[in-house]
């Protein structure tokens, strides 16, 4: 039988027995509609005609989709009218609050779910630098940008921790590589699905990325650090490391989904008090992938 979740997670997962029960069910499909390609009513009509039942959700442009076939086989998909995407994956973008005209760095962008969501909220105006270190994943990123008809994106391929200093950014999204525990499910045979084996030292990579991202921000700028893992060492632990190294602030914000505060200690480590301003989203409460989101600002006078 699967040893999941680990016993040290029980103190912070709300109603852990419900979480464990929820792990046995597949997550429902969600879509975001893309008004850059066509007006929303036209998209909705086409999807209805293609046999897709849509349920409105409290997150703008997102719907729960029920449909007899793969979402990727719909005409609406080929036309770039929709982007299949976990509901909770909208949270980092909502925290960053992109606006038309912004200069944004998406440091780990592929395959582009959040890049294309940000471009849509910006009305395709401004500039998003969508970066990813993986050449293979950049192909998927550029295909999604084209499919969604976006013109405000520039693609680069740097290791995030070596992204060049130059002009600084208004807003940065660091949707970091992580262990993906928020996606875990338990299969019929009791095996853990979607778990990644042979991990590298993810917290070390994430800490390198977050410091570079912070240093690339304009004073007064906003950095959103997000992962789809429950692991505090990849979440609050990384934000804590930044707070110790730099003069950063964590801002609270009001997500449109049920959320919990960041935790203040794990495995005997007490974190910086500000990390409780982070937001946690759990799979059994959101009925979607688990997410962690930290909204960080660089004070105007950064001493």
């Amino acid at each position: 039988m699967t040893q999941w979740p680990p016993s040290e997670y029980f103190y912070f997962i709300p109603e852990p027995e419900k979480y464990i029960e929820h792990l046995h069910h597949p997550l429902p499909p969600y879509i975001r509609i893309n008004p850059i390609k066509a007006p929303a009513d036209k998209i909705m009509h086409l999807l209805k005609d293609e046999g897709v039942f849509l349920k409105k959700l409290p997150v703008d442009f997102f719907y729960k989709a029920a449909c007899g076939k793969e979402l990727g086989n719909l005409l609406g998909y080929h036309l770039g009218y929709i982007y299949p995407q976990a509901l909770t994956s909208a949270m980092p973008v909502i925290a960053l609050n992109p606006k038309p005209g912004d200069l944004i760095l998406d440091m780990c962008a592929a395959p582009g779910g959040k890049t294309t969501h940000m471009a849509q909220l910006m009305g395709d105006q401004g500039t998003i630098v969508a970066n990813d270190r993986s050449f293979g994943r950049l192909t998927a990123l550029s295909a999604n940008i084209k499919r969604c008809g976006i013109t405000c994106v520039v693609i680069t391929q740097y290791k995030g921790e070596h992204f060049p200093y130059g002009e600084h950014f208004d807003k940065i999204l660091l949707d970091a590589p992580c262990s993906g525990e928020g996606k875990y499910r338990i299969g019929r045979d009791g095996r853990l699905l979607f778990s990644i084996s042979g991990r590298t030292n993810l917290p070390a990579i994430q800490k390198g990325l977050i410091v570079r991202a912070f240093d690339l921000l304009k004073p007064g700028g906003t950095l959103v650090y997000s992962t789809c893992t429950l692991n505090p060492e990849e979440n609050e632990g990384v934000v804590d490391a930044l707070l110790k190294k730099r003069n950063a602030l964590v801002l609270g914000w009001n997500p449109p989904l049920r959320w919990h505060r960041g935790i203040d200690h794990f495995k005997g480590h007490a974190y910086h008090a500000l990390v409780t301003g982070c937001r946690r989203f759990y799979p059994h409460e959101a009925n979607s992938v688990g997410f962690f989101v930290a909204k960080i600002v660089k004070p105007k006078q950064n001493g």
């Binding site: 105006q125 550029s142 013109t151």
Partner: protein, 163 residues
């Protein structure tokens, strides 16, 4: 290839006034012109080692200029001529066979690329059933050649065949 040529092509072939493209800038590689949203952040952008910027807009194919599928999808609604409304059945034949017979009709000005506007479902009002798919090549006296990317043509077949 240069920006002037690209904008002029879209004006002459599709009747889209050059002013529609004022908020954009254009970048070219050997065979492709890309359209990118103009931005006041060009200093940052110019200092970066870019892989890709904006959307492919127009390609040079042998001696001819070809509008890209994504540009036809994104800007097709602005076109005033050389747009054809195609119904589900002929579109399926076009995607499967690669070529169908097509009567010229008043919207086609002559041989060259036409933007495909799928009328789907046919019962909807004109505004709701206009889906810009990409382009096809119209040749005299009445041939229409599919120029959708293979993956898109396959996708259209899979999506529309079930009925």
């Amino acid at each position: 290839m240069d920006k002037q040529i690209a904008v002029k092509y879209w004006e002459e072939r599709f009747g889209i006034p050059p002013a529609s493209f004022l908020p954009y800038e254009f970048h070219s590689s050997t065979r492709t012109i890309y359209i990118a949203r103009q931005s006041r952040h060009c200093r940052v952008i110019s200092s970066l080692n870019k892989d890709f910027m904006g959307l492919p807009f127009l390609r040079q194919v042998t001696r001819f200029l070809k509008p890209t599928t994504v540009a036809a999808q994104r800007f097709g609604h602005l076109a005033k001529k050389n747009v054809i409304e195609i119904k589900r059945k002929p579109l399926l034949s076009l995607c499967k066979e690669g070529e169908i017979r097509w009567e010229k009709g008043p919207t086609i000005t002559g041989p060259g690329y036409v933007i495909l506007n799928l009328a789907y479902p046919e019962s909807h009002t004109a505004a709701l059933r206009r889906h810009f798919l990409g382009v096809s090549l119209f040749l005299e006296p009445g041939r229409l050649l599919c120029r959708l990317p293979k993956s898109m043509a396959k996708g259209v077949i899979a999506a529309l065949e079930r009925e």
